[in-house]
Symmetry: C2
Subunit: 498 residues, 2 copies
């Protein structure tokens, strides 16, 4: 029933079609769209906009800002249509990736906690129109988001006009899960009062002057759920190394039995690790993360996790269906926050998180490349990995020790691109083993990473490189003309092996 969803009567005459809403968007505008990891994204207006641009038959470009990645269909169609000028702060879609790698799209890869600040300070073009998916408009005309919060609050605050996609397929029972907190302008801020992972510090809807809401488009499409990557032998080995390490930390008294609030990136390793917690002795765990995946709900069901805070749900179709139908069961254990709060450096440090993220490659000194294949081709983006890695109490990076059937070593002499410096990386995990780098100087780090983490087929090559480098000396020994030789060889021969 629309009246349950659209409770501010004066807005009821603003219901329009996607086409009409799209017709308000002009060439050169900046759009702030809801959506984080394909959750809670606007689903019809972007497609209508692409149609409008086609029909216009003249150059038409917009800037597209989101929370993080949006569902592949939208990012893909936007890329193909050629209407995107600037895209930020994150994407993970094949066609968008191609467009930004060939220079057609100006992609600005950002720490996910930074976008709101960059908008406030005027460092990037301001948002003209906010496109926000909602489950409801409240009695005050405020916007209740759906399965993510992302950057929606700042887009709404900054936009001249707001257009809502009121999605009847997103359950109204989501209402009450959100915790919208806007820290305000830098230099005029109070401390964010959050001191526990599950604490509520904000409001359940995004405040807005209803006069700014120009149109409301009614939709009825569930989120495009993510395919869940099942653990394979190697991700299970990685999870096991990591869990054993955590057990040892508890035994050594450096962590308590309920560890510290957990953050984990998306993907198979994260899922395998969280799966591993199911059969572990850890209890009363807390999650303070970006994305909440299937495994978080399994752990909630099993009573292992007592609270989970994130900024979006990214679930498989089956879990999504179950969760959306049983939200009452999880209501008091879940919080969805803006990404500048879920990823806030001050809060991550205050809470003392354990951060588990995935790398493309790691070098022998512990620098991490999360983004650029062979130093040049953008994969997805840095996402929140830097927000967490830098400020967490314990920072893990996981990667298989090799890629492309062994043609690539994920442990290299020098990263071809650095997203996380050795200062921010505590522990490297591959299927081969785990390297605890805390309190080690670079030379000690190199030995441990090569010995514990590299694939046996590359270990001798890495050892030889390291020994030759040490003979030249330096705090971080390198043979500068060979530091990227593994990559150069791959580009030339299709393999990093000699």
């Amino acid at each position: 029933m629309l009246s349950q969803r659209l409770r501010y009567a004066a807005l009821q005459d603003r219901v329009v079609t996607a086409e009409e809403a799209a017709s308000w968007i002009e060439d050169g505008m900046t759009l702030g769209m809801s959506g984080f990891t394909a959750a809670g994204d606007v689903k019809v207006i972007p497609l209508a906009l692409v149609e409008r641009a086609k029909k216009l038959g003249k150059p038409f470009k917009v800037n597209v800002y989101t929370g993080a990645s949006i569902n592949s269909k939208i990012d893909g169609v936007l890329a193909e249509s050629g209407i995107v000028n600037i895209r930020l702060p994150y994407q993970s879609e094949k066609r968008m990736r191609a467009a930004l790698n060939n220079g057609d799209v100006c992609y600005i890869d950002q720490h996910l906690s930074h976008t709101a600040e960059l908008l406030r300070s005027g460092a990037i073009p301001p948002v003209d129109v906010a496109l926000i998916e909602a489950i409801a408009i409240t009695e005050e005309g405020y916007i209740v988001p759906t399965t993510s919060v992302g950057n929606s609050h700042i887009f709404v605050a900054q936009a001249k006009e707001v257009i809502i996609e009121l999605n009847m397929a997103q359950p109204l029972a989501l209402e009450g899960l959100h915790d919208v907190y806007d820290p305000g302008h830098q230099g005029h801020r109070q401390p964010i009062p959050l001191t526990e992972a599950g604490q509520r510090v904000g409001t359940t809807a995004i405040a807005v002057d209803p006069a700014k809401i120009r149109g409301i488009v009614i939709t009825n499409q569930p989120d495009v759920s993510s395919a869940i990557v099942p653990p394979d032998e190697e991700t299970e080995q990685m999870a096991q190394h990591l869990l054993n390490f955590l057990k040892d930390e508890v035994a050594a008294g450096r962590l308590g039995p309920n560890l510290a609030p957990l953050q984990s990136g998306v993907g198979s390793v994260a899922n395998a690790v969280f799966h591993g917690f199911l059969n572990s002795e850890f209890r009363d765990l807390e999650v303070y993360s970006e994305v909440l995946q299937d495994s978080v709900f399994q752990l909630l069901d099993a009573g292992k996790i007592k609270m989970a805070s994130g900024c979006s749900f990214t679930l498989s179709p089956k879990t999504n269906e179950f969760v959306m139908e049983n939200l009452d069961k999880y209501r008091d254990k879940l919080v969805l926050r803006p990404q500048e709060i879920s990823n806030n450096p001050g809060l991550i440090r205050r809470l003392g998180l354990i951060a588990i993220n995935t790398a493309l490659e790691v070098d022998i000194y512990g620098h991490v490349n999360s983004t650029h294949v062979m130093g040049t081709q953008m994969m997805n983006g840095i996402g929140g990995s830097g927000d967490f890695a830098r400020n967490a109490r314990l920072t893990f990076f996981c990667t298989k020790s090799y890629a492309k059937n062994g043609k690539i070593s994920s442990i290299v002499p020098m990263c071809s691109h650095v997203d996380h410096t050795e200062h921010d990386v505590d522990i490297i995990v591959t299927e081969q083993g785990l390297a605890d780098l805390r309190g080690l100087s670079p030379r000690e780090r190199a030995k441990r990473i090569i010995d514990n983490c590299s694939h046996p087929s590359y270990r001798p090559l890495l050892q030889a490189y390291y020994e030759e480098a040490v003979a030249r000396g330096g705090h971080t020994p390198h043979i500068i003309e060979k530091a990227l030789s593994f990559h150069a060889r791959y580009v030339q021969t299709g393999s990093m092996l000699e």
Copy 2:
């Protein structure tokens, strides 16, 4: 008079010689020593310890933790004596540099705000003995630091024993300037209540159980003041570019006339910039920085700065003498804090700082190397530059466009070591000009950096590299086998020029 300085009567019988204090330090111990940028460091016990180790005539090693760099004499003698195992988190001394670059010392280069957290979480060996310079011991037996706070509070909290150097040459009038705040353990923290640069949130002395104070050594040596590097033509040009940019930001409404709290690294560029403020229209400025240098006091005298917060004073002999004799004049305008507060990521973001730091080299995409000459030889360390750069509202990196009489270009295709990724760098300044990188994709960044910042003798080489790289494609175009060719050429021929 000792009684004014040593007000806790029960400690009066603990006064000992430096030699006696040193005799309590055993092989394998970890020492937490006060001192930040050669301010407030312990001056006699480390030298006595070196003597003790010599006399022992058997292997003797200690770990040496400090706030940041200490005066060259101490770090140099420690390095020469060969008694240092681990050294952290920062140094800037010739002999220590040689020792760590040849692998004799295990140097752990850390973000300066991280050391206290790493100690709390047990990530690095704990402090056995704290050696702290003080102006006084209070009636409660608490320690009043001298010209820096640094990591002293955490060293004192963690050490089993504390030894004080009570320095009669440091004026008692420093008392009251310090603001010691310990955030407590991660996961059990309240928000740090600081919302303005000059606000006091802590205590004026370091709380300690006086029973832990094993000995007190009386000293009478002023800090070894820093030589002030006068601005030259090029640093003045850099300062001018930077100030013009700030004026434009005010004109564009992105900053107010009193800007935002300023942080600046040590050195000639920082001094030149601050000098430039003297004759500018900016007013009511605030400083929230690590080190307070001469120029801060000139600006205080001129009424340009209304508040300055730091974690140490690093002054030239003349300014030092004047300031120490006239502390009352500055009393209500100065605060000295622990480095985990001056450099706190949450506070830096909350206050929205303008951060001005210096780079060794910058690449065409805006990555910054602050530490490793030719990717291998450690210069000093990352210091606080990462704490500030990542979290500031506006992050500048300055460098002359060339080094070693033009044999080295400070703008290179790819940094030979990355301390700050492009995500953390807003603006590059050289004597040639300024590149505002905000809101630019990597390809746009490259053009702007090469055009505005590179030295004319290297510009064509950089342009040629960039064009060849773009022909290969990628979000961040590189020719992987040539990305470090400038460095390789320098290592081989002594010049980066072809």
